[in-house]
Amino acid sequence: MPEISTTSTGPQFGPVFKDAAATAAISFLMFLPLIGFITVQDIRNVLVLDTRWTLLFILVALITAGRLAYTLVLLPRSARRAHRAPAPASPIVAAIGRWFTPFVVGFVIVYPILIMGLVPGGALKWVDNFGIQILIYVMLGLGLNIVVGLAGLLDLGYVAFYAVGAYSYALLAKTFGFSFYMLLPLAGCLAAFWGIILGFPVLRLRGDYLAIVTLAFGEIIRLVLVNWVDLTNGYAGISGIPRPTFFGIPFNANDDGFAAVFGLPFTPIYRTIFLYYLILALVLLTAFVTIRLRRLPVGRAWEALREDEIACRSLGINTTSTKLTAFSIGAMFGGFAGSFFAARQGFISPETFNFLESATIVAIVVLGGMGSQIGVAVAAVAMVGGTEILRELDWLKDIFGQEFDPGQYRMLLFGFAMVIIMVFKPRGLVSTREPSVALTERKMISAGMVKEGHG
């Protein structure tokens, strides 16, 4: 595409329209085979070629308009911005930074009540699909954040620990009838144990090699779950997993159920709200423990390990135990999330714990900004909430036709969003690293302002 010269007076229109025309031509050629033609089965089940000129035209027009807007509005603006000296951070921005976390915590605490008031009919969906679903991923993200974000060990098989937690709970609860509150720590311990099992062979690996081995580990666990039919029931999965009770009081319509005991009319929303607060408590616990750990020597050692393993060793840090603690503590939180997941669903199967899940969690950590907890939370809301919202966009059907399912474009949109974020914020949404020591004079230096110096 031709370079567009932008002067201080504004862009010249000749090159701009030439550029827009080129964009239109390229997008037309690209989308002609992709969108323009479609094969459909006619009444006799024969494939016939159909055309979608309207849709093709709309897409090309949208892209051309976008390119025009970019060259006419955004480019001159960023050119102007480059000339200006960076403005000092305004007090409003500083205040937002300070109050953001307490605000978010407050919001998630009142969220179910708020939803109950706003949409009494659809509250179940909003608390379950948006609330609980997102919080599970926040929990997984926070757990993986310890391994990837803090210790810098790229783990692509994190879903394995999620699976270990889920199956531990499901099998032990079904076989022995242990309660959720007993099995939650137990599932965490078992996952941590598997974290150590994985940790030992990969102690000497770093970076890409570690990623490959952990990826394989995740697949091995999944394949074991698929093939060990006697124990796990294979693809069919485990159903009828006992649900968590309100500290001994079950959520059902019986006389000893939650609603009856508290003199309320029975609705399934109570269980959902209870589960919401349960996972919220787990998320807050994870966040709190991580914050505390970062201030302890082991947390600092993780961060040092991420930066330079050799320097760590020469400073007396036992890198073996440091890595193993990172793996096991990260895995433990994954196990908590897994057993909560099993208890919430009541049904689990190996298909839930595929690589895509691991990739989603890694994406949440990377997008959020390695090591940043609030970034992980924001990224989880965007990734998981985004998927759920796509399902809600029914009005798109009025534009693109009844067969259009926005959910199918999920991956495309994710990929697109990721590229955008990585272009503009290469170190994730929250890329500043808060020093873990509080000093009287705190100066934060954002990653974007400096280059990593090795010389």
């Binding site: 961060e303 040092a304 930066e307 330079d308 060793r313 020093p435 020591v437 990593e452 110096g453």
Partner: protein, 241 residues
């Protein structure tokens, strides 16, 4: 004569099939500055890393303060109050200078952190100005200062320095050498220095060794080695410096 603080006896080490050290003998006594010079690839850095257990010596013995540390894991060697400012500095780029110094202090929990910090920042006033800056934003010289300062935070008895003047302007290198001299003269810190900058490093040293191809070929007092024609020819560019 009292027993040396660090004594290396017949140490051999190799990378795969490539022998890097072919039986090295070397002593560092308490309160000394000992310099090891040699060409690129002579095995100087390898020797320093072998003292720290990576790569491991497959023959010979390394005795530190009367204890055999040849087979000890690196982190336990570090806890015996041997500090190292490794080649390439290896500071923690994303941590602040203060946090880097804290990391250095972690190796010796008995040391008084505040007092050490004051001492170290007194030696390197530049670091005091940059205390809350990220390590990666420092200049090369400042990073070298930070690497040495971090090593000093654990109150070491023996300081191993691998090419502290590498890539530094002559004036900054001189500053670093002055600080090493001061540390030795005032605090009686024992220093084992590996250097390419033979003139300055030997002038500073009580004793020096010359290493060629994994073997010690010459030893003597720093002044003595500087006078030798072989050293002059090979390492001092025919007398220019």
């Amino acid at each position: 004569m009292t027993e040396p603080l660090l004594s290396i006896r017949g140490v051999k080490a190799s990378y795969g099939h490539v022998a890097a050290l072919k039986g090295v003998d070397l002593d560092v006594s308490e309160g000394e500055i000992v310099t090891l010079i040699g060409a690129n690839g002579a095995g100087k850095s390898t020797l320093m890393m072998t003292v720290f257990g990576k790569p491991r010596a497959h023959a010979g013995q390394i005795i530190y303060s009367g204890e055999d540390i040849t087979r000890r894991p690196t982190h336990l060697i570090a806890r015996m109050r041997i500090a190292q400012a490794p080649e390439g500095r290896r500071i923690f780029a994303r941590m602040s200078v203060y946090e880097n110094l804290q990391m250095g202090a972690a190796v010796n929990p008995d040391a008084d952190f505040e007092q050490n910090l004051e001492h170290v920042l007194g030696l390197f006033p530049r670091l005091a100005q940059r205390l809350h800056q990220r390590g990666g934003t420092l200049s090369g010289g400042e990073q070298q200062m930070l690497a040495i300062a971090r090593a000093l935070m654990g109150k070491p008895r023996l300081l191993l320095l691998d090419e502290p003047s590498l890539g530094l302007a002559p004036l900054i290198a001189q500053q670093i050498f002055d600080i090493i001299h001061e540390l030795n003269a005032r605090d009686r810190l024992t220093v084992f220095l590996v250097e390419q900058n033979a003139y300055h490093a030997l002038k500073l040293a009580h004793r020096g060794y010359v290493m060629v191809n994994g073997l010690i070929t010459m030893a003597g007092s720093g002044r003595d080695l500087l006078e030798r024609p072989e050293v002059k020819a090979a390492y001092l560019e025919g007398g220019r410096h």
